[in-house]
Symmetry: C2
Subunit: 262 residues, 2 copies
């Protein structure tokens, strides 16, 4: 792809609890939805344990390859919250208690008449030079360094932080999509659909099988960044469905033999 | 870790629809649950698009590093189902229509009075030398080659295939766990809990914050592969909670000053 406006992204979800099954991730699907709307292509997701080496290695692989990296998890007050340390290590900068974050958190605990313990102060730690991502839910900020956006694992907090982050990113060229209901199963359309995909290389055509208890059908999604490109591919998909319906009904349409689908 | 019975695993979930948000993955959490019960450590998960290069690269990284790799998705009948090709490429063997799979699928479509189309025949393709993973739901088999287990993306089929696969694997040393309810928030216990984790390096202690609308509490999970190791760490966690409760209630317990937690 040579389109300079094409923005790509990866997600790194951090946490033993995701890998043990104790917590079922809710952030990946949400990020995917939000990025798709923003015209940013989510290309890869990794989930790793709360282990510094694993986090640093994944982070280095992803931040080199994609426009943006978004992380979730590991920025709370306990010993297994080591994301700030790992990100600092990946960027080769010290991990410090950020003065502004200490002020925000200190004031919040004072208002709530709670002790600002050493553990709670851990939530103010971030790599030197990082900028805050505001946390309207529970105060402790996320942070941005380079192209890496570090957010909380708790879904409500992740979502609030992400809303802010996405509003600061230049939008990519939005992906357009068209959904076409197809009364045939994947096995009936697979070969024809493959040919259409080949003829429209700038589109991405996905097929999603459905089963109503009696028979299979398919939802076909055509995606492209250009309306004319999208329309041309969608027209071929619709012609394929009409041709198959005519065949099923015993009336071969007059133009089928000369069309691309014959 | 030097424990030869320690089995590790990675998952590779394959599919554009997971990265666009159109489909929310349900297989990762299920695999995590099943492997935890089987004593196999899920160490990493990756989600990649339906792109051969991305699949091959992830597969090669994961299969070299972990005892087992489990994949989901991309083994259906359409043009974007390229998992069999990618796995064959990673292992350097041809991808062929498997004779036994052709027979199974051919018989199934005959029974259902449906045409065994070229697209449907794609579901019989697998790397030369692969063994079948039976599919009691919709016939088209998954397959195993080397340490890689290739399964369907549809959750009902993934789950049925996984049940079979797990029954064929030698179980690892099962991880034991104990859950301890803690009436204090993470900010109150973080430092003490970090010290306990440090004193019990063979355990993994996780803390999961809970909020009932009024105050924070925590569920603490201690995990270890050995019952005595687990019991020792759990005892220290319980002592920590008792000490904090006594402090909160104004009665310092007589042994707190001399204990590890002081």
């Amino acid at each position: 792809m040579t389109d300079a406006s094409l923005k790509t992204a990866a997600m790194l979800a951090i946490g033993d609890e995701l890998l043990s099954g104790r917590t079922k991730d809710k952030n990946i699907g949400h990020l995917a939805d939000v990025l798709t709307l923003a015209g940013i292509d989510l290309k890869e997701v990794r989930i790793v344990a709360d282990e510094e080496e694993s986090i640093v290695e994944a982070l280095d692989a992803l931040r080199a390859r994609y426009t943006y990296v978004f992380t979730s998890g590991g920025i709370g007050p306990t010993h297994d919250d080591i994301t700030a340390d790992a990100v600092s290590k990946a960027f080769g900068v010290p991990c410090r208690h950020d003065a502004e974050a200490m002020k925000l958190l200190g004031a919040m605990y004072e208002r709530r008449n709670m002790e600002f313990t050493e553990a709670r102060q851990r939530m103010a730690r971030m790599p030197e030079g990082a900028r805050h991502i505001p946390n309207p839910v529970s105060t402790a900020p996320g942070f941005v360094i380079g192209n890496v956006h570090v957010m909380a694992g708790v879904p409500q907090v992740f979502q609030a932080m992400l809303d802010h982050v996405v509003s600061t990113l230049p939008a990519g060229t939005r992906m357009l999509s068209r959904s076409i209901a197809c009364p045939f199963g994947e096995g009936d359309i697979g070969t024809l659909l493959g040919a259409i995909q080949k003829n429209h290389p700038e589109t991405s055509i996905g097929s999603y099988p459905q089963f109503d208890g009696k028979r299979f059908s398919t939802e076909l999604i055509v995606r492209a960044r250009d309306e004319a490109v999208l329309a041309a591919a969608a027209a071929d998909v619709e012609a394929m469905i009409s041709a198959l319906e005519a065949e099923r009904d015993g009336n071969r349409p007059r133009d089928l033999d000369t069309g691309e689908l014959a």
